[in-house]
């Protein structure tokens, strides 16, 4: 099976966005709630949170989950009294 044009474009995008990534998906998940709050509140990121961001930029699956999480948190406001 050969790649379609779209798949080649996707492959090139994956290659182009490859970074050194010190995290794996499970470590990312462990810190994702904290990272989502930092993002939603516009906080500056500490080193551990920068590592989460790098992983999300490099991992399409964690990126999908993160986007969905932000959608959910925005929908509920996620205020302290929830």
């Amino acid at each position: 099976m050969s790649l379609s044009k779209n798949q080649i474009a996707k492959l090139l995008q994956l290659i182009g966005t490859t970074k050194e990534d010190s995290m794996d998906c499970e470590c990312c998940f462990d810190r994702l709630a904290e990272f989502a709050e930092a993002e939603l509140e516009g906080r500056s990121l500490c080193e551990a949170m920068m590592a989460v961001r790098t992983h999300i930029e490099s991992c399409p699956c964690c990126a999908d989950e993160f986007k969905a999480l932000l959608d959910g948190l925005r929908a509920i406001g996620n205020t302290d009294d929830c």
């Binding site: 099976m1 050969s2 790649l3 379609s4 044009k5 798949q7 080649i8 474009a9 996707k10 492959l11 090139l12 994956l14 290659i15 182009g16 966005t17 490859t18 990534d21 794996d24 998906c25 499970e26 998940f29 810190r31 994702l32 709630a33 904290e34 989502a36 709050e37 500490c46 080193e47 551990a48 949170m49 490099s58 991992c59 399409p60 699956c61 999908d64 989950e65 969905a68 999480l69 959608d71 959910g72 948190l73 925005r74 929908a75 509920i76 996620n78 302290d80 929830c82």
Partner: protein, 226 residues
């Protein structure tokens, strides 16, 4: 959890400069209160009320976040139910670094996305995608008028795939380019998400390094195939 321990962990991790010491400390106190409150309620005498409240909260978030991803209201209800069970089983893992509700929504969201991925590709085998492991990059430039630079780039990429990737990396890459999520590839390979992420990430790095050695940067590729 002891407040001082939390503070130590936070400062050790984030190494925040002194000027933000007080706000960070205040946040930690808030988080401890939240943790105590939710965990206490979910394990206390009125736990049924707390569980109902948590489930309703998750349903609200999931209904919104899954609507555009192929999950309807009933799906949100089902996942929220499963998520509550998972959350109650994992209460000791809540470290208080975020609001309890954010942590809970993180668990529910991952469950939801994983289930959607599983349903979407439940009948897809790796063999049907990869034809026994090949990742072939054929010349798909439209016609004879295609840019020579494009052809050269694809030719280099094809050679790198053939010569530097392992069979397992080719299979995983092919599956990913066909839309399978990493965890779906992992389940078919009898592996786990972390290992497959690393397998694919290493393949990406090999290809990137190989292309750069051949004088083709990511920017060049983006320009060529824009």
């Amino acid at each position: 959890m002891n407040v001082q321990v939390l503070l130590d962990v936070r400062f050790q991790f984030c190494n925040n400069p002194l000027p933000v010491l007080r706000p960070a400390a205040m946040e930690v106190f808030d988080m401890v209160n939240q943790q105590d409150e939710w965990v206490g309620r979910l394990t206390g005498p009125n736990r049924d009320d707390a569980i109902s409240e948590l489930r309703a909260f998750l349903v609200r978030g999931l209904t919104k976040s899954m609507a555009s991803r192929g999950g309807g209201d009933a799906f949100a209800q089902d996942i929220a139910q499963d998520a509550v069970i998972r959350i109650l089983d994992s209460l000791d893992q809540f470290a208080g670094r975020s609001k309890f509700t954010t942590w809970a929504m993180t668990i529910a969201t991952r469950l939801a996305i994983s289930e959607l991925r599983r349903r979407r590709h439940q009948d897809v085998s790796l063999d049907s995608l990869a034809n026994g492991g090949a990742l072939q990059i054929e010349d798909t430039t439209d016609d004879g008028n295609a840019d020579a630079a494009k052809r050269d780039a694809l030719s280099t990429l094809r050679q790198l795939v053939d010569e530097t990737l392992t069979d397992k990396q080719k299979i995983a890459m092919q599956a990913m380019l066909n839309g399978l999520a990493i965890e779906e590839i992992a389940s078919r390979l009898g592996s786990n998400r972390n290992a497959v992420y690393k397998l694919i990430h290493d393949a990406r790095k090999k290809l990137r390094t190989g292309l750069e050695k051949a004088g083709i940067t990511a920017e060049t590729l983006a320009d060529l195939f824009a």
